[in-house]
Amino acid sequence: MAKETYTWRPADDGPEFEMLPVEIVRSEESWVKLFLEDGTVLRVKIVVSKVGRSIDKPIPGRNGEPLYHIQSGTIVVADVPKELYFTEGG
């Protein structure tokens, strides 16, 4: 069964693209660790749930490379030093 396409306009003043959903078949679920100057350690993971590829035209000026559209979220887990906690909870 053919997949249903959708339209996407990346910029308000830019062209509209016809997008074909592309299944994710493999996803490396890696965490990035950020060490902040205040002693906090943030662990960050990007979570892509849907991907689409333009099928009617390429990225302008990119030698025919199609445009990709992703639906994603970001998970952030913070290890916060005790001294940075507020004395009263929110």
Binding site: I24, S27, E29, S30, W31, K45, V47, S49
Partner: protein, 178 residues
């Protein structure tokens, strides 16, 4: 160098230390005395998947040392004994484990937890091209969002707190099969 004197009193040496010494000895081609533990070590090394009893016999040996995160250290060759899934690019996996031996303990923990969370999913070990990274591949028939929800449980219940010893050289990979 293998300290053969230690073998005379096996009870004086804890299982994981003894096992590590046996494997060390095997790697160094040293001559060691016979014991049931030695038999287990040889079985793992020579015919790692030969018999269930081998795994059973070595189970207490593989318990290993636990550090603060619960990660356990065992020798790279022990991988064949504890890993129940298949292995892609075996040489690269071993390379990566030799570079970061504490991945061994994390693989034991990850396997237990991922098997429980993804009961229908085969687990596969895979090494990257540089022999630096070990991937635990979960082949799942769940959709992307559902699999991520399950993996989120894994991350929050264990992996985030335990991943430190891997030094960023171990990751979980979701493979979506239809």
């Amino acid at each position: 160098m293998f300290p053969s004197d230690s073998l005379h009193g096996t009870l004086a040496v804890d299982d994981s230390t003894l096992y590590a010494m046996h494997l060390q000895a095997l790697e160094e081609d040293a001559e060691v005395e016979s014991s049931s533990y030695y038999a287990a070590a040889i079985a793992f090394t020579v015919a790692p998947r030969a018999a269930t009893w081998t795994r059973y016999l070595a189970a207490p040996i593989l318990r290993g040392h636990e550090d603060a995160t619960g990660a356990r250290e065992v020798r790279p060759l022990a991988m064949d004994a504890y890993w129940r899934g298949s292995i892609r690019n075996r040489a690269r996996v071993l390379d990566a484990i030799r570079k970061t031996p504490r991945i061994n303990g994390l693989l034991i923990g990850a396997q237990d937890r991922l098997s429980a969370l993804f009961p229908e999913s085969p687990l596969i070990l895979e090494g990257d091209l540089d022999g630096q990274q070990v991937y635990v591949v979960v082949q799942t028939s769940l959709d992307v969002d559902a699999a991520r929800d399950v993996l989120d449980d894994f991350d929050r219940s264990w992996w985030l707190e335990s991943m430190g010893p891997a030094n960023g050289n171990m990751s979980v990979v979701l493979e979506f099969i239809t």
